[in-house]
Symmetry: C2
């Protein structure tokens, strides 16, 4: 059987990321069936889109490797990074409501995703309750995550935003087996700024400030968190104490 060089057949049942993107409480038979969810895998080269605003929606994507950003744009050319996604996370949920995507998903490094046709997900989740519930949880989690971003954008100062951003990233990386205090940023200062509602200069200055205060060490994209408690304190103690 000929295969597209960009795709290959795979199974969830023996995937090491399964506990991150699939429900955990499955019996053997259900586990088997879950493999039907993933159609193929697809490789995405750094800097290229997984999908773009306006494209028809067909599938959700589970990230196997690599790092993505999603962003929305207005007609007048403004755009906003709405999230950064890493291995085990699901992208494409925005497309369900109108059958086409309403944001861009760009790979920030070479990546590989599992393509999960949404009609197949719906079909299977009618049969496997655990999967149904899992899909609901994933969507709800995204809603809650966005609440957090709204809180950040609506009420935090630059330092608080950056501190929250770093803590969130390192926490997610740690859940994937990486260091709990060291990370390599896959995005530019400008992309961080877009996500945090700041200009790239402000991001840069805030990094410098943290370095001066001995809270972090920054070497290009390599960041080491020296004082995680200090970062936490920055996040939840608003300055305004008039």
């Amino acid at each position: 059987m000929p295969m597209n060089p960009l795709t290959m057949k795979v199974a969830c049942s023996n995937c090491n990321l399964r506990e991150l993107c699939m429900p955990v409480d499955l019996n053997a038979q259900e586990l088997q069936r879950i493999d039907e969810v993933v159609a193929v895998r697809r490789k995405i080269r750094r800097g290229t889109p997984l999908f773009r605003n306006g494209e028809p929606f067909t599938s959700l994507y589970a990230i196997r490797t690599g790092f993505f950003k999603t962003c929305v744009a207005t007609e007048d050319g403004r755009d906003q990074v709405t999230g950064f996604q890493m291995a085990g996370e699901i992208i494409g949920l925005d497309g369900i409501v109108n059958d086409h995507h309403t944001c861009d998903a760009l790979a920030l490094e070479d990546a590989e995703v599992c393509v999960m046709p949404f009609d197949r997900i719906e079909e299977l989740s009618r049969e496997i309750t655990a999967l149904q519930h899992h899909v609901h949880k994933i969507m709800s989690r995204e809603i809650v995550r966005e609440h957090g971003v709204m809180l950040l954008l609506g009420s935090m100062r630059a330092e608080e935003r950056l501190a929250a951003f770093l803590l969130n990233l390192v926490q997610r990386l740690h859940a994937r087996g990486f260091s709990r205090s060291e990370l390599v940023l896959r995005m530019t200062r400008e992309e961080i700024g877009s996500y945090l509602g700041l200009k790239l200069e402000t991001v840069s200055r805030t990094f410098s400030k943290f370095v001066e205060e001995g809270i972090v060490e920054v070497n290009q994209r390599h960041v080491r968190l020296l004082d995680i408690d200090a970062l936490k304190r920055i996040v939840n103690s608003q300055q305004t104490c008039h």
Copy 2:
């Protein structure tokens, strides 16, 4: 059969809001079954919560009448309005992921909601494909809505935010049969400010500016949009020209 004074039995099948909160393409039999989704109705007095952060999640709520705000808070007392909801809209989606709510939903005026136990929704949506798909769309719609808010909070200036806010409100009200240019705000300037990431004074000043420019008429909470095109122009034409 004795009834709780705050609740009463009801049916979706003959509800005039059905097309707003339920799927449209149902056959007669499915329509019948849909009535099973709503357990009871519940009345909420102005200023009181429908649910609070931390409370166990059991149900989604379809608003029948009235107006709500939802808000999230941090430990340090900061809080952020994440949305305003009106008749036909669904609240409570935040609770699915962790089986308890992560935000507060407060009635801004006396309200009535349809209580839809989530396990019943899940059960029924395993049988009725249209309902399943509808639930997915509602959640996806919320995600997309929040993308829009992130764009607003992350990249718009005060005037743009307020203009976008007014246009959004009036558009939703119009879809419910109200005027396309006149509206009564159910929330305070402070609540608007929280939602838009602005202080109440800035909201007030921006209203005044719009009034000066003849774009809107403001009388307390009563607002008339005199020049909708001007508002649209304000929203999508960022000032930063180069």
